[in-house]
Subunit: 202 residues, 4 copies
Amino acid sequence: MSTSEKSKTKQQDDKRARLLDAALDLFEVMGFEAVTVPEIAGRAGVAVGTVYRYFETKEALVNALYRHWKAAYNRMVLAPLPTGASARESFSLYWRRMTLFTRNHPKAVRFMDLHHHASYLDAESRAASKTYRDVAEKFIRDARASGAVRDLDPVMVVALMWGASAGLVKFASQGALTFDAGMAAAMEDTLWRAIATKPLGD
Amino acid sequence: MSTSEKSKTKQQDDKRARLLDAALDLFEVMGFEAVTVPEIAGRAGVAVGTVYRYFETKEALVNALYRHWKAAYNRMVLAPLPTGASARESFSLYWRRMTLFTRNHPKAVRFMDLHHHASYLDAESRAASKTYRDVAEKFIRDARASGAVRDLDPVMVVALMWGASAGLVKFASQGALTFDAGMAAAMEDTLWRAIATKPLGD
Amino acid sequence: MSTSEKSKTKQQDDKRARLLDAALDLFEVMGFEAVTVPEIAGRAGVAVGTVYRYFETKEALVNALYRHWKAAYNRMVLAPLPTGASARESFSLYWRRMTLFTRNHPKAVRFMDLHHHASYLDAESRAASKTYRDVAEKFIRDARASGAVRDLDPVMVVALMWGASAGLVKFASQGALTFDAGMAAAMEDTLWRAIATKPLGD
Amino acid sequence: MSTSEKSKTKQQDDKRARLLDAALDLFEVMGFEAVTVPEIAGRAGVAVGTVYRYFETKEALVNALYRHWKAAYNRMVLAPLPTGASARESFSLYWRRMTLFTRNHPKAVRFMDLHHHASYLDAESRAASKTYRDVAEKFIRDARASGAVRDLDPVMVVALMWGASAGLVKFASQGALTFDAGMAAAMEDTLWRAIATKPLGD
DNA sequence: CATGAATGAGTATTCATTCAT
DNA sequence: CATGAATGAATACTCATTCAT
């Protein structure tokens, strides 16, 4: 297939992608209202009017951005586990997926946390959040049933895991720590001690 | 001092306080830019122009609000511990102060988390954040030195504690759990297991 | 009553009136879409923002303008006739009222004619037009019943009278004729010949 | 000339004609400024860019449209009368031409009336209007000289005739009457009574 | 001190026009 | 010749801030 055959679509995809990238950079730092459409266009290297060829309104743009990253997160983090994995292995896998995504896309994660209850997000965008809690709760419930995890409120455990990850992002963005694989592993070990029936076992 | 002299001051303080309250309610839900000065004035029951008798600009108002709550937080949570407290007792006290404040003033806590890196906060407002980290780190370092807490990166532990609290607020505000004293205690126990050398000991 | 007591309302009325005047001047010549809000504000001697203190939107402004003049027209032209007036006298009175209004407010009449079917006029504004036709038709019907006017379609007669007046305005605005009292009287006589049973009688 | 050579031209003419038709439909209802070029292109079934192959600008398009219909009107209505026609016959012929054109092309007539003084029409387009008045005035002057028409201001008579026709269009477009041949004839009779020296004579 | 009408700079959005394919 | 994606100037409208009362 020749380059020219695809170039039209490619260029469009490219512009849309560049607009989403620019919007992420700006919204994450400034917030939705503080960012102007010309700023987004400028950073994406297109004219103002072009923004409106790809997104109906500025609100439609944030919503598209939010859903884009929420979908990517769900795809990577909430994918089914390999069958037969132990509770410890499952915990480790989920935690490493979460932190890997977070470390690869810290801006996207901060953006989602900052905006998840914002008034300019429509119902569909907000609905995406639920999935995460559902999957996480089910995992904890199963692990508890298997006896590997103590008798704790599943939602509390989800809050702890999400919070631990968010805390690392927050302090990393302030320069107080480095959120690398080692830090992720140390936190994993610490969290497992918090919730496991026999943290030192095995 | 006559009564009328005092009442005047009282009324002024009252207006200032009502403005700060109104601003907190609105900023926390809508964000800084999405809230208009007339809205704040209306909710506080004063005229638009009056806002400017108490605060130079809208930015000055957010900064005053931020510092107000940051100071309250520091006063309540970071106050010196009773001398002679064990690491376990100190940990418990800090955690209970944190969660008590958070449960009493969830709007203020969400506001501070949402806005702590915002561009409209000036250097002085942002500096207030540092204190918290310094105190928290010192406590962890001491506890570790005493042998009660494992050999962990202090900042990671602070991230974990802050994150655990933030996670509870977040899921509580979504209606997924109830952040009451029992929940706080359960989380305290869980966190202590995560970091203590002998979590079951004593 | 002192001047100062009323001055606040007076000034407001004044601004509203000046805005309506400016809008009439501009809309009549340029059409609704070709006129910018800053132009209206400038001509009225107020700031742009002030326009929006008096009218929700630009559309609300045209609608208010349209209703203002339609009401004035109906008040002056469609007021009840003195009882006992003959058909000839009634015809003369209606015609003189129409042409007097038209000569005094040619811009308003052109504006109403130009805009009466415009998409930016809401239902209520458009409804005002009906009254005119109803009154005019009733008059013709009565005059015909009395035998003074020939057996003509009443709507056709209304069309003729309105058209005659509109034609005079149009050619006057082009500088082809002078629409004064004499011209109005000459047209009245001509129209009466057109419709009367015995134009020369009496 | 080969067929293909002609068809090419035909297709071009066709596109131009379709653009003019689409523009008439839209301008007449919405006004010049409220209609977008993409709308015109869409209704004409061509791409946006194609509009600019046939017309320099949007203004050039309205001007072309205006002149197109003005020329058609002049060709049909203002064509020389058969020699030797009486004043009554001439009057009838002019009136029937006017009303026939108006009934066949009501949109074009409304468009011309609505736009005849618009700022986006250039001098040449506006000049076309003069012809009509000149011809009409000359006819009245002659008829008056022949003694068939009373001693009236010619321009007033033109205003009356134009107004009568415009009134019929206006009320017909509002659904208040039907502008058919019978209505046209009734109005002709009525108008002749208005201006003739001996309306009942012959 | 308190008020709220007035201000005008600033923002989202539209749309006539161009030009590479 | 035809196309329609890209452009950016222009417009309606908002809202922080001022100041006369």
